[in-house]
Structures are given as C-alpha cells and as structure tokens.
C-alpha cells in the first residue's frame, strides 16, 4: 500500500493527460467528465493520505535512474500541505475553466496541459529528493507554457517567450546547483533539519554559492524581485490559468522550493550559520514592498493582482527565512492562505471580465450592484489580503509579526504594517468603487455566467473565512503547519 497512494495521486492527473490531449475538441462532455472525475478522485485520495500521514504512516516510491540518482516520491507533512492545496483548488479551477472556455478553441489542448501542470505540481509536492524536485520543476515550466500562450495572440506569444526565458534560465541555475550539490554531497534526500552534516563547516563558501544558485533557480518561479518580470506579462493567459499559476502551480512551486531547500536540504540553522538567512529576509522584504508599490499604479485589474502576488508570496519566503518557529508557522500557513485568497480574487476578476467585460480598476464602478455575488467573493479575498481579522490573511500576518519579534527582528512588524497599508491602498479603492459608486451610464449589457463560473469563487471565499475563523481546529492549515514546524524546530 505504501506505493499505491503516491502513484495514484500522481496518475489521476498525469495519466489522463494523454487521453485528453488526443480527444477531438468537440467531445466536451467526455472531456469534462474525465476531468471532474479525476479531480474528485484526487481530492479523496489526498484526504486519505493526509489522515494516514497524520497518524504517522509513511509512503515512498523509488525508481533508480542512474547510479546515485533516483526518482523518489514521498509523502511527508510538508508534501501534504501543498498536495491538499493543489488537489482542492484543481477541482474548483477545473469546474471554472470548463465554464470559462465554453465554445472556445483548442480546449483539448488546454485541459491536457492543465492536467500535466497539476501533475507536475503534485510531483513537486511529493518529491522525496532534490533530483526529483528538479525533474518535476522543469516539467512544470514546459506544461504551463502552452497555457500562458493559449490565446495565441502576438501579445500572448511575447509573454510566453519572456516566461520561457525566465523559467528556463532559472531551471539552468537550479540544475547547476543541484548537480554541484550532488558532486559534493551525493544524493540529496529531503529530511527535516537538513542533510549536509559537517559539510557546512568544511565547505562554507561552496555551499553558500550552491544555496544562491538553488534559491535563484526556484526564486524565478516564486517571482522574487528582481526575477519577477515574467509574472505581470503572463497575465495575458485566460483567467483560470492565471488563477492556477498564482495560487497553486508556478508561484507556489517556487515558494515550496524555497521551503524545501531551507528546511530539508540545508536546515534552517545551517542557513543562519552560513549567514544566508538575513540576505534572504532582505530579498523577501524588498519584494514585499516593491510588489505592493507597483500594484498601486496598475489600472489593469489582473496586472494589479499579479503585482500583489509578487508581494504576498514573499510573506512565505519571509516566514521561512526568519529563524523562528512562530514565523515559520505564519509563512507555511500563508502558502495555503495566499492560495485560497488569490484564487478567489482571480476567479472573481475573470467573472467581471466575462459578465460585464470589465478588465480595469477604473471600470469597477458599481460592480457591487451589477454582480453582487462575485463582488462579495472578491471583497472577502481583498480584505483577507489586507489582513482584516478574522480572515485567513490576518492569521498569517499575526504569526509572521510575532515571529519577527521572536527572532529579534522587530523591523519585521514595521514591514508588515507598511505592507498592509499598501495592500489597503491598492485594494480599498477597488472595493470603494464597486460598492459605493453608481454603475456607469450605458454599461455593457450583462452576459449570463453559469454556475460553473459563479460557484468556485464563492467556495474559495468561504474557505478564506473558514481558514481564519477555524484556525485553531486540528485540520486547519494553521494546525497542520504547527505540526510541520514541530518537525523542523525540534
């Protein structure tokens, strides 16, 4: 049984992709049925896995590739955190995407690569060593590219080129770092508190260089400044892709990579001993502020959300880099919290564009009256991002701030306060326009959006509320992250 679950979870998305790719576009029903069935099965399997892992069960599958190189899928507590996020949000995004792309072109290609993209994410979540992580990380780059350029316009292709240049460049850095670490230390399994033993004492400079390469490699996907240039451009992708990219797949894979490298390859104590934790905090701080500043100036709704992602994902980096268990809880919980909040915002933004043709902040006047449901979900997401209690974002920020004090870096509290002010400055005007202004004269007529578009943001908004209100429940994201952190900080 220990091999079945990880493989089954991978195959529910990897296995159906070829079939979907080969289907004629007009087989809408079959395709939708296969997609939804696979996504539902995956959620069930991940739930089963989570329960077993919580009870101490271990799962591993290994395939030897070459001497000293093995592909290994393993499910530990940190994997489960990311798996749960991707499984639940994949189901919701699939429903949304089916509705969103109704009548569009190339849907088989879209859903095929959509499945491959989730398969790569799942592989990243369950990677048991650095090599496996690298394999799925590069796979993710290739699987998302066709989704970014899905619209096929010149603009989409330009964005696709930039995306590919950034991510393949990052992939090269990550590959080089991984090979170098292999040459130095042999196989690199993921183990809490790190696997490097005495090497940091004997090779401090080499290991620091490798750390920079690895973090730069995953930092491209995590959109750390100055490696974030691809993210706002890739907003040309269809709304469900943006939602998936920002909440689950690409950006989160990068953030998850930072966690794995800091916690399970080097160990957070070693990172601090090598003097690398403070620079990482600095990178995170700059990214948080820079992303928020750029978000202020964007009129395009999705681009504003994209810069907000740049900023918010760095909370995770911040929580990891601050050497404090309290901050770690905040950072890890934010992996989930940012995911559900950001997907709510993107799905709602997609609905504004579909239902009323509104794509800009300046066009949001009166949206609360025009599309109350979507706007309510958007509001919950935005308030959560700002950190209004009792929503999910507040919980993350609370722990991050407390962690900053715990780590002896009170400046972090100021950073968080400043960031929250900026969050408020770029989100509240939208909410104000939507709820307190009148719809413009001669607004575009309403196009009906079906339940497939309306339901997912409502569900994720409810999750945002629940993750905040029920933060102390045993299976809340927060509860689970406390469990993970207890393994790293023994």
């Amino acid at each position: 049984m220990t091999e079945f679950l990880p493989l089954a979870i991978l195959m529910t998305s990897l296995g159906i992709a070829p079939a979907i790719l080969a289907m004629p576009d007009r087989w809408t029903r079959v395709r939708t049925a296969v997609n939804l069935a696979a996504a539902s099965v995956k959620v069930a399997l991940v739930a089963w896995l989570s329960l077993s892992v919580a009870q101490g069960a271990e799962y591993a599958v290994t395939l030897a590739v070459a001497p000293g190189l093995a592909l290994e899928l393993r499910a530990d507590a940190l994997s489960v955190l990311f798996l749960a996020l991707s499984a639940v949000l994949w189901l919701l995004t699939t429903i949304y995407a089916v509705g969103y792309l109704e009548g569009g072109t190339d849907r088989s290609r879209f859903f095929g690569f959509f499945s491959l993209c989730v398969a790569a994410t799942v592989g990243i979540a369950m990677a048991g060593n650095l090599f496996t992580f690298l394999v799925f990380f590069e796979f993710l780059t290739l699987a998302t590219w066709p989704l970014v350029v899905h619209r096929g316009t010149a603009e989409a292709h330009r964005a696709g080129r930039v995306y590919l240049a950034y991510t393949l460049g990052g992939g090269l850095a990550l590959t080089l770092g991984t090979v170098w670490l292999h040459a130095l230390a042999g196989d690199v399994p993921f183990v809490p508190t790190g696997v490097l033993g005495d090497l940091p004492q004997s090779h401090p400079l080499t290991l620091s260089a490798i750390f920079v390469l690895l973090i730069a490699g995953v930092g491209v996907k995590a959109a750390q400044v100055p490696l974030h240039g691809w993210l706002p451009l890739s907003m040309v992708a269809p709304a469900p892709v943006s939602a998936l990219l920002h909440a689950v797949a690409v950006v989160k894979a990068g953030a998850f990579g930072i966690m794995r490298i800091v916690y399970d390859v080097y160990g957070v104590e070693t990172v601090a001993a090598l003097g690398l934790a403070t620079p990482l905090v600095a990178v995170a701080a700059v990214t948080i502020l820079w992303g928020s500043f750029r978000a202020l100036a964007q009129d395009d709704l999705k681009t504003r959300l994209a810069y907000s992602t740049v900023s918010q994902v760095s909370y995770i980096t911040l929580g990891v880099a601050l050497v404090s268990p309290v901050a770690a809880v905040g950072g890890l919980a934010h992996l989930i919290h940012q995911g559900i909040m950001k997907i709510t915002l993107f799905l709602a933004a997609g609905n504004f564009a579909e239902g009323r043709g509104v794509k800009t902040v300046s066009g949001m006047d009166g949206m609360g009256r025009l599309m109350p449901g979507a706007m309510a979900a958007f509001t919950v997401g935005a308030l959560g991002m700002i950190g209004v209690p009792p929503l999910a974002g507040f919980v993350s920020k609370w722990y991050l701030g407390a962690g900053g004090l715990d780590a002896g870096q009170p400046a972090v509290v100021a950073l968080l306060a400043g960031s929250s002010l900026l969050n408020a400055a770029y989100f509240l005007p939208i909410l104000h326009r939507a709820w307190f202004r009148d719809p413009p004269e001669g607004a575009a007529p309403r196009r009906r959006i079906g339940w497939m578009l309306a339901l997912p943001p409502a569900v994720t908004a409810a999750l945002v509320l629940a993750a905040g209100l029920l933060a102390n429940a045993p299976f809340s994201p927060l509860g689970w992250t406390r469990f993970i952190v207890s393994l790293e900080y023994l």
Partner: protein
Amino acid sequence: MTEATLLVTLPFLAALAAAAHPRAAARWGGAATLANAVLAALLVQDVLADGAGATGIGGWTAPLGIALAADGLAALMVAMTALVGAGVALHAADWSLRAAADARRTRLRTGFWPLWLTTMGAMNALFLSGDLFNLYVAFEILGLTAVGLTALSGGRTALRAAFDYLGAGLAGSLLLLLGVALAYAAAGRVDLAVAGTLAGTVEGRIALALVLAGLAVKAALFPLHFWMPAAHASATPAASALLSALVVKAALYVALRLSLEAGAGAGTLRAALAAAGAAAMFWGAWHALRAERLKMLVAHSTVAQVGLMALALGLSEDGVPWQAAALLMLSHALAKAAMFLAVGRIAEELGHDRISGLNREDLRPGAAEFAFAIAAISLIGLPPSAGFVGKWLMMEGLIDGGAWPWVAVVLAGTALSAAYLARVVSRCLRGGPHVAPGARRPPWRTGDVAALGLAAAALALGLGSALPLALLERTLT
C-alpha cells in the same frame, strides 16, 4: 554470440532480396527490420547476462577471418540502430503503401529499402567490428548508401547535396585510409587496441590525427560539417532521419572507441576535439536560430548536437565519464529521428516548411507537432529525457574536476538549443485569431505513431537510464 554474426549478415542478404524483388521490397524491408530488432534485443540480453564476448564469422578468427566483438557499448549501439530503424521503417512502410498508386514515386519506394537494409548491415558491422580495417570497409559501404539515401528524393537540390556528400565522404575515407595505413606502418597491427600504443609515438599520433580528421568529416563535426545541412535537409523524411540519427553516430562511435583505447595519451587531439565540439555547438545553434526552413533548423541542430557529443569525448580527461557520450548519442538518435519524421509530416501537410508560415495555416498536424515538441525536450536536455541524464553525468564530472569554463559552455549550449527549438514549438502553439473556425486536423497515420513513439522513447529513456548504463558496464577487458 550467433546473434552478432546474424546481425551482420542478415541485413545484407535481405538487401539483396529487396533489390532483386522490388515489388516486395517493403515486405522484405519490414521483415528484416523486425528480425534485426529481435536479434538486437537478444544480443543486449546476452551481453547483460554473460558479459562481453568476441567471435569470428563462420568460426574464422584473426588473422584470417572477420573478428566480431560485442561489448556493452557495441550492443547499445546495435540496439539504438534497431530501435530507430524500426521507427523509421514503420514510417516508410506507411508511406510506401500510400505512394503505391503514384507511378513517379516507384523508384523512391523500391529504392529506399535496399539502401536502408544495407545501411543497417553496415552499421551493425561497424559496431561489432574488432579492428580498424573492418571499420574502414563498413564505413565505405555506409558512405555509399548514405549518398544513395540523400539522392533518393531525386530533386535538383537533393542531387547536388548528394554529390557534395559523396565528395566529402570520399575525402573523409581517404583521410581514414591514410590513417589506418600509417597506423599499420607504425604499430604493425590494426585492431582497435592499437590506439593505446599509437598515442605513444609521433607517427602514431599523426595516424590518430588523420583517423580523427576522417571521422570528423563523416560525423560532420565543425568546421568539417559544410556538406551536411544541405544533405540532411533535402532528403526525404525517412532518409533524413536515418542520416541524422544513425549515420553520423557511426563516426562518433569510432571516435569514442579510440578515445577509450587511447587512454590518457593524445592530449592535443582531445583538446582539438573539445574545441571543435564547443565551436560546433555555437555555430550550429547560431544557424538554427537564423534558419528560415524547418528542415534546415533541424539539420543545424544536428551540427550543434554532434558538437556536444564531441565535447563530451574531448573532455574525458576532465572528468566526463564516457558513458555520458554514449547516452547522449542514444538520446540524440531517438529524438532526432522522431524530429525529422515529424517535420516530414508537417511539411507534407502544409506543403512547405517555412518556419514563419507555421502558425498561419488552418491545418493542424497536431500529432506530428506534439512529437516534435517531445523530441525537442530530449534535444535540449530537459528532464526526464535521456539527454538530460547524459548532460547531468557530463556536468557532474566537470564540476568534480573543477572544469568550470566547460560547465559554462554546456549550459550556454543548452540555453541556445532551447531558444532555437522554442522558435518552432511556439508556432505550433497557435490559437485564437489565427485559427479559422473550420481548422481541420489531418487524420492519424501510422507514421505519426512512429514519430511519437521514438520521441516518447527518448523521453522515457531518461527514467530508464539504469538499463543502458548497466549495459555499458559490460566491457571486454
């Protein structure tokens, strides 16, 4: 080791039969290719189980007979030929069937099979041969059939390219023959192990240099690649696939053999090989980036990839394990054959192979495009392909040896190959306004299965690298 003897003799007999009985050429060809694949599988199994072995054809051994030696490397190369050959033969059989009605294509249809079977026999003989003279003979046969394959499409450019190919091939053979003769004069024997003693004397080193120069012409290694892009780009898809995937590997294989035997000697030659390889990577990539035609792009990518393999050979004293070169050869063979077959299908459907025109058609040969994209993953060396494992071994060795400039060269080559292949794949990902509502998807063909299968094999081989690497452990010593 009866397989070894059969592997060398059977294809030639089948080629004779196919030439004598042209109406059934495709059937002869298909049956012989299938038999060859079975024999290759048996050989691999034998070598894995019992280790390497040597035999003489008909029981005759040296100095009179033709000695055959099958170690892990030879078995791997024979298997590579069989696998690529099976894929290409599937494509060619499908194509033969559809061309049957077309009288003008008869020559093409019947001419292909004897040429392919002779190529296969010559490749097998070359891989299994134990001495330099046999190698030379196998090379001669191979050179002639390769010219035939190039000229097969019969167009003006193809004939011109074939003629250039013939000239280059003869020049290469001349160098090779001169080298072999000089080696015989210097050492008094011509078995492959002679390379070790040759590296010790001045005459011997000159002989090695001549042999290497001859091989460089035949492998189209920069700056001796001038004949190759035109030849590979103007042939029919099946011929291009064979020429690019297999025929250039023959020369690289011999270079690998010699470098294994020559050991630490011949440092200058190694350096020259590495320098030429690095230059080839950039030269080929530059031309592939600027290519206007799809076939030209793929042919120039072969120039770059041959450079990468030469680099791996040249750097064997800097820590690159020789297995890396063998794995890169295998991966390139599968991926490049898939790519040429895919390009052939795309060009046939669209009626042209201009890269700029790829995304303005309302015709979408999706299966071929997908095969191209998967093959591209292997050629770039992205995981989980065999090309990736090859590059990984190469980089790990270089880092271990502290050869950082070469690491940078490998990384730069990888980035460049991603850039030129992305030119094509991005145009395959068209959509939106470019696509007419009535865009039609051509039906599946057996040939698509061949391209997809070869590309998928190259990709999956990375995960299964343990098998070829275990095979390579079986050496004759």
